[in-house]
Symmetry: C2
Subunit: 375 residues, 2 copies
């Protein structure tokens, strides 16, 4: 059965310690219900990383969604897109008729600064938090001449500029490359403006069989994978191969040979280097051309293949469990032509990619890639 996204919704993104997950989730779900024209659903998948046990039932109860199957999933930064993948599968196979996928996270009340790694992991033992893991990939790109500091910064400049047109983004701004490079160093060579912020938010989508409706965005294919052991001697940095393998699965499911026909994408730019590696891994640009493409405007609004028109994780924000569904909402708006000041004109095929990381002995923890098509 072909599945379509019938409605999406999100909260505002940002530090919102005065609001709770019930309020954030209600913003997203009520908008998604309104968008879908119904609140009559048969099951729910909820993605969260740090939400307390039972948080799904708690927030759903507050909006009167009870008595149906509810499954909470965790897959690091890909938790929201994992909820989407599971909801999609439930509709595709006829397990349920209409399914809500919900992602939520409140980081501001739980963390100060970077998420600390588990002390039993190699990262934990060596004191490597996630910014440092990405910084090592960035340093390798610089060392091999695959990117320059200015090209890294160009990703931040682009995504902050995109977010100027996204009223729900946490941050936005007309930064220069020099300003990005001059911002406080977090993990060399990644400066503050090259790292995603601490965010609270929620996002939701209503999935049901495709009926050819004028506002239905069709799901062409979804793939989910977890990381294989990372070959540290490979020519690729950490995370590349997981994204590439997952994308190949998603393209196969969507009956595409490659990314050629993709018009717009939301990808996992938790750090600037992440977007560069991901655009290469997805085949948007040739290996080693990710930084050049960002600097040349290829991946900017108005370019050949706009990436992260919402502002991405860098600017919209990164409430972990919500991120994947926030990416999905943006692509749905883009494919319906409803993205207002940040619309990619004529976008027909969109892609969402989220990569959850954390353990360098694995090539990423988990990754989800979805391909969607305009009504």
């Amino acid at each position: 059965m072909t599945v379509a996204v019938h409605g999406v919704g999100t909260s505002h993104f940002g530090r919102q310690p005065h609001r709770d997950l019930v309020a954030l989730a209600a913003d997203a779900v009520q908008e998604a219900f309104l968008d879908a024209g119904t609140d009559d659903i048969d099951a729910v998948w909820v993605g969260t990383v740090f939400g307390p046990p039972g948080v799904a039932q708690r927030v759903l109860r507050a909006m009167g969604v009870t008595g149906i199957p509810v499954v909470t999933v965790e897959n690091a930064c890909a938790s929201g897109t994992t909820a989407f993948a599971e909801a999609h599968e439930a509709v595709r196979t006829g397990r349920h008729g209409r399914v809500l996928a919900l992602g939520l996270e409140q980081m501001s009340t739980a963390f100060a600064g970077a998420i600390t790694p588990e002390p039993t992991d190699p990262e934990g033992r060596s004191g490597l938090a996630l910014p440092a893991l990405y910084a090592m990939a960035a340093a390798r790109y610089l060392h091999l001449g695959l990117a320059t500091p200015e090209q890294l910064a160009a990703v931040s400049v682009k995504n902050h500029a995109h977010a100027l047109h996204n009223p729900r983004a946490q941050y936005s701004g007309r930064h220069t490359v020099a300003e990005v490079l001059a911002s406080r160093m977090i993990a060399d060579p990644l400066t503050l403006l090259q790292c995603c912020p601490t965010s609270d938010g929620a996002a939701a989508a209503v999935l049901a069989p495709a009926t050819g409706g004028a506002r239905e965005v069709t799901v062409r294919g979804v793939a989910l994978r977890s990381g294989a052991p990372w070959n540290h001697r490979s020519p690729h940095v950490w995370g590349h191969d997981l994204v590439r393998r997952t994308a190949m699965d998603a393209f196969a499911a969507a009956e595409l040979l490659d990314a050629t026909d993709v018009d717009v994408a939301e990808v996992h730019d938790a750090f600037t280097i992440g977007e560069i590696v991901t655009t290469e891994a997805l085949g948007f640009v040739a290996p080693g051309d990710g930084g050049k493409a960002a600097a040349a405007g290829v991946t900017a609004l108005g370019g050949v293949l706009p990436v992260n028109p919402s502002g991405g994780l860098l600017s919209r924000g990164h409430p972990l469990g919500a991120t994947g569904l926030a990416q999905l909402a943006e692509i749905v708006w883009q494919l319906r032509g409803e993205a207002r000041g940040r619309q990619v004109e004529g976008a027909r095929l969109g892609l969402v990619e989220t990569m959850g990381g954390g353990v360098s002995v694995l090539d990423g923890n988990s990754c989800v890639v979805a391909v969607l098509e305009a009504p």
Copy 2:
């Protein structure tokens, strides 16, 4: 496609703070792989409540299971059976060929005493921990004359006696009703021996299409539900209706009219009153007869319908995320005739029920019921 359980495995259950989740999971998974005759799997669903983010990838990596889809699920005490339900669905629909379901939890290093409720819930605001929630149901049963203190205690006597034959159980013993009633009061009328202990453990199952193999236990039906708002004025205590509705779904999936043909069951006896309410909700006994049945030996080994031959949560232990798959492992052993000293002779049809609770405004958070058939 008909699904069968091809292998199961568990760790020892008990307080094991000196072991970690990697070691506990390895015990369960390696036994399940050996039992299934293969370690070649295509996807994994992992159930845990308090396991840290990424724990699934971490424990699987340690045993060389990488590069495939991994989804971690949380559904309170039903997290393990939720992983089972999702794995079952993946095989049933042909999404994956052979799937591992894994449940794990280390409570001893995380908690001292009862799990505290969320401060934003009615329970949290009024200081009600889970033992108190169950105690209120027990008090109501006593008040209405639906059970006596001695009948409550009989459940504990029975399950501790069952566990004498389960070498992996956390506790066991030949207690008398008087001893159970004389043990320290936890939440009136529930005494210490009527409450499940703090446990660490893991359990696993390998699912694949049924091929008619001599050791394959067929999955006849699985159902998963979350709680509806609880009508406090209903004649039923908290949790009853959720278990009943989920059981009806599972019986329908298994093409059974009711529980008549069930020969052996593992049910959620986190507290003695839980088993009494559940045997009534499942239709094993008439409404109000759960306590009498326990006291009369109906639900004991050798009785008409043995319930919790493993010792149940009360005696085997209750490592939250592992519990559902530990229950499943017991039923698989029973249906294969491999349960040694606690074997229910000639058992052909088995049932697993787990109910995850915590919020009294809902009639339970989540429930899974599965019906399985002997080879």
